[in-house]
């Protein structure tokens, strides 16, 4: 081993010496005044999605939408929502004339892994924008990283109030809706269907997203006259929710609100239906279950159990506006099934980023942030939308949906009950549920 090492050492030493002797350009990361300014004929975007762990299914759907968006930006396919988008800057010749390339990574739905993956995209692949994610913890972690590194973060599926509240960042933008909006959209529909005189029992996932979701829906339903019987926190790792569901019937509550997402939601909903809650009469009223945040992919995991259960969603493929139809068509023709809401939001985010770069005439994060702040647009499937400048949250219509009683296909699981107009879900920047954060200044990096 000794000889081997010594030889290796000598060789490396020689290489190092030669390297130092040659004329070299010693550079810090700054060329054009911002991180990873694209120099060649292409620009690299980083798609950072969960490819393993509980949200891998959604991550896969997000990746499909990203690939479709890149294809459209580069002039391939039928152009999808580029044709219906109110801003007409995108011409199908890439972004600012540069061909769009992308790198992908696996967040594993863990903050650490997500940041490692995002860092490698920034440090190794020269990504100028990071996007993706399928949970709020990861989105907030990566958003913070992008702020430090000086690249733009276009959040994927993240529903916690904190993403654009307590943890908002100048370099981060969220198209997806949030817990407050879900609650504001749902409460009137629940009031109309189930009446004012209701008592709710909350089961809440015991982590940040669950808490903000629960806080929002409790406030919104109490404003409509509902009572709250109890709020029970359930550990994230819970597999079997029977012990939490069993006491609900004797609690005097007549509505069960499941502030759960992903596997938690599937399992808690399945347990609740198995325990026959929906067949029961309490206080002379039919017992009901509500799932504030719905996802079609997750609904399919719960099978029959979602039938008739109300919730909210950011977007659904059955919408009939031009944008949604165009997107469903190009996605469906490419992959053979309709896109999920996660796919929709990340496709929109990619388009919005590209459009902002075109309008700003630069990839500089500060230019892009300026172009996105206060940007009003339509034609991306959610009606008239605005990116609010103060917290980088998109304000748009919210869909109240219900599990379909008679699905006509394996994708036809949810039906849109009401499209709640934007005005009804808006809130002030300093709303207490979003207070405490500081957007800071946009950071273009080195």
């Amino acid at each position: 081993m000794s000889n081997f090492t010594r030889r290796g050492l000598l060789k490396s030493g020689a290489v190092l010496g030669a390297g130092m002797a040659m004329p070299t350009i010693l550079t810090a990361a700054s060329h054009a005044g911002y991180t990873n300014a694209p120099t060649g004929s292409s620009v690299t975007l980083g798609f950072n999605v969960p490819q393993s762990g509980p949200y891998a299914g959604e991550g896969a759907d997000e990746l499909r939408a990203y690939q479709l968006a890149v294809e459209h930006l580069n002039g391939g396919g039928d152009g999808g929502m580029m044709n219906t988008f109110s801003s007409k800057e995108l011409k199908g010749n890439g972004i600012l004339g540069k061909k769009v390339e992308f790198v992908t990574g696996d967040t594993q739905t863990k903050s650490d892994a997500a940041r490692a993956s995002a860092k490698s995209m920034i440090e190794k692949d020269g990504a100028v924008m990071i996007t993706g994610g399928s949970s709020s913890g990861v989105a907030i972690a990566v958003q913070g990283l992008c702020q430090e590194a000086g690249v733009i973060f276009m959040a994927g599926l993240t529903h916690s109030n904190d993403t654009t509240g307590k943890d908002k960042k100048a370099n981060g933008f969220r198209h997806f809706f949030n817990g407050y909006m879900s609650a504001a959209a749902l409460a009137p529909v629940l009031e109309a269907r189930y009446g004012k005189d209701r008592t709710a029992y909350h089961l809440t996932a015991d982590y940040t997203w669950g808490w903000t979701q629960q806080e929002s829906i409790q406030a919104a339903t109490e404003a409509k006259g509902w009572q709250t019987a109890a709020n029970v926190l359930t550990p994230l790792a819970t597999q079997d929710f029977s012990s939490y569901v069993a006491p609900v019937l004797n609690s005097g509550a007549d509505v069960l609100v499941l502030n759960h997402y992903g596997g938690n939601m599937i399992n808690s909903l399945t347990s609740a239906v198995q325990f026959g809650l929906r067949d029961k009469m309490v206080n002379g009223k039919q017992f009901e279950i509500v799932v504030p945040l719905y996802s079609r992919l997750m609904a399919s995991g719960a099978g029959e159990n979602v039938k008739g259960i109300f919730g909210s969603t950011n977007w659904h493929w059955s919408l009939t506006d031009e944008g949604s139809k165009a997107f469903v068509k190009s996605f469906g023709e490419k992959y053979g099934f309709p896109p999920s809401q996660a796919a929709h939001t990340v496709y929109c985010q990619t388009m919005l980023y590209a459009d902002a770069a075109e309008r700003a005439g630069t990839f500089n994060p500060c230019g892009i942030a300026e172009a996105l702040e206060g940007f009003k647009f339509s034609g991306l499937g959610n009606g008239d939308v605005e990116y609010r400048a103060e917290d980088h949250q998109c304000f748009k219509d919210v869909l109240v949906v219900k599990g379909k009683e008679n699905p006509t296909s394996e994708f036809d699981l949810l039906e849109v009950v009401e499209i709640t107009p934007r005005a009804q879900v808006e809130y002030a920047v300093d709303h207490p549920m979003f207070a405490g954060g500081d957007l800071g200044k946009c950071n273009p990096g080195a």
């Binding site: 190092l16 010693l26 990574g105 490698s120 709020s136 913890g137 982590y207």
Partner: protein
């Protein structure tokens, strides 16, 4: 270095050279070439190699020497990270107080857990440590959110006190002004080598940690630990109480984990609760066994191996594969890409699982055994005597 034999000195020198030249060694392929995908010479991954190396070295002091298999070491990593981020929040972004507190807190925490868990041995010890770590994780994720910021992970906010921060102080982790994220790029023809301050800080700690571990391995204390592994009962019959020794080893290895956690938070000032989960503890165990438990350098190799696959293979998606095999006829290209995509990108876990199996089946001593076999083969080829025993793992 009096007590080190020449083989140890060589190993130490090897570690020093490799650590210092890592930006070159890990970047063998020109930037922009198809093979550049396999380059690992970018700051984040090099930092990861270093602090996970420290973690594995520390774990090896416990497991490799005493044979006590802790399944909860990630808890100390987490405690170290939280301690460091709290120092950032309260004092300033200088990493020194953070790292010191990380080591101390991890030491105290491991003293507590070790004191209780070491009352049992074998698998009962493993499950006790696992139970403590899982409780720490569950609580950090939920109830302890005021202290850990739960799901989101502990991070520094603009309105944190940071009492030692001046008006124009640096707003990212630094060592007396040297910013961890600063990187100098050396453009050398088609290559771009990145020299990162944070990495070199980690590398210095790695060398220090490695040196310390060599000293422990060769000390009377290390000998005592090995005696515990060989036959604890017999040792007890000779009238020696082995508990203080195992507890010391446990605390030392906990402090190593705390140091790794502190460095982790210094390189990237966010501490997520998942780094305390049992999967993270399991990963430490895998790193050590994979590299070669009980050997000096094996655990570092094991750590590098796992982190390499996690960060490099997970990024090889179908588009990349199509790019590589574009020269093939269409049908063949699709077939090759279809087969390979099962193993890369979203299938990187599959490759990792297969490699775990292959290595443990064919190289019972881990990667170090592979290295030894290659060295033996090399020596035999050169017609040299292979009877040198100094390279055998310190079993």
């Amino acid at each position: 270095m009096k007590s080190l034999n020449s083989s140890d000195k060589r190993t130490l020198l090897f570690v020093i050279v490799i650590s210092l030249l890592a930006p070159f060694l890990l970047n063998p392929f020109p930037t922009g070439s198809g093979m550049a995908q396999f380059n690992a010479g970018y700051p984040d991954l090099m930092q990861r190699f270093a602090y996970f190396g420290i973690l594995a070295i520390g774990f090896n002091i416990l497991f490799g020497l005493t044979g006590y298999l802790s399944f909860g070491h990630a808890a100390f990593l987490g405690v170290g990270s939280y301690a460091t981020v709290w120092m950032f929040k309260l004092l300033s972004y200088n990493i020194v107080p953070g790292i010191i507190l990380a080591v101390i807190m991890a030491g105290l925490f491991s003293l507590l857990i070790g004191f209780i868990s070491l009352r049992r041995s074998g698998i009962y010890f493993s499950i006790l440590t696992l139970a403590f770590a899982q409780m720490s994780f569950a609580l950090a994720y939920s109830v302890l959110t005021p202290l850990t910021n739960g799901e989101t992970g502990l991070q520094v906010y603009n309105d944190d006190p940071q009492i030692l921060m001046g008006e124009n102080a640096i707003t990212s982790p630094h060592l007396f002004g040297l910013k961890m994220q600063d990187t100098f790029t050396l453009d050398l023809g088609p290559w771009a080598f990145q020299f990162n301050v944070g990495y070199y800080v980690c590398a210095l700690f790695l060398i220090l940690a490695f040196y310390l571990s060599v000293r422990i391995f060769r000390s009377p204390f290390g000998l005592m630990l090995r005696a515990i592994k060989t036959n604890q009962t017999r040792l007890n019959y000779t009238g020696i109480n082995s508990r203080p020794y195992t507890l010391a080893a446990f605390v030392i290895s906990g402090m190593y984990a705390g140091l790794a956690g502190g460095l982790m938070a210094s390189m990237d000032p966010l501490a997520g609760a998942e780094r305390m989960q049992w999967t993270a503890s399991g990963e430490i165990v895998l790193m050590t066994i994979l590299g070669g438990a009980g050997t000096l350098i094996g655990p570092v190799l094991g750590a590098g191996f796992i982190k390499y696959f996690e960060n490099i293979f997970s990024k090889i998606n179908e588009t990349v594969l199509h790019g590589w095999f574009a020269w093939m006829p269409d049908g063949l290209e699709d077939a090759v890409v279809w087969v390979l995509h099962l193993f890369t990108g979203k299938g990187w876990h599959l490759t990792l699982g297969l490699l775990f199996m292959l290595i443990v089946i064919f190289l019972p001593g881990g990667l170090m055994e592979g290295a030894d076999r290659i060295t033996d083969w090399w020596k035999r080829k050169r017609g040299k005597d292979v009877s040198d025993t100094s390279k055998t793992p310190a079993e």
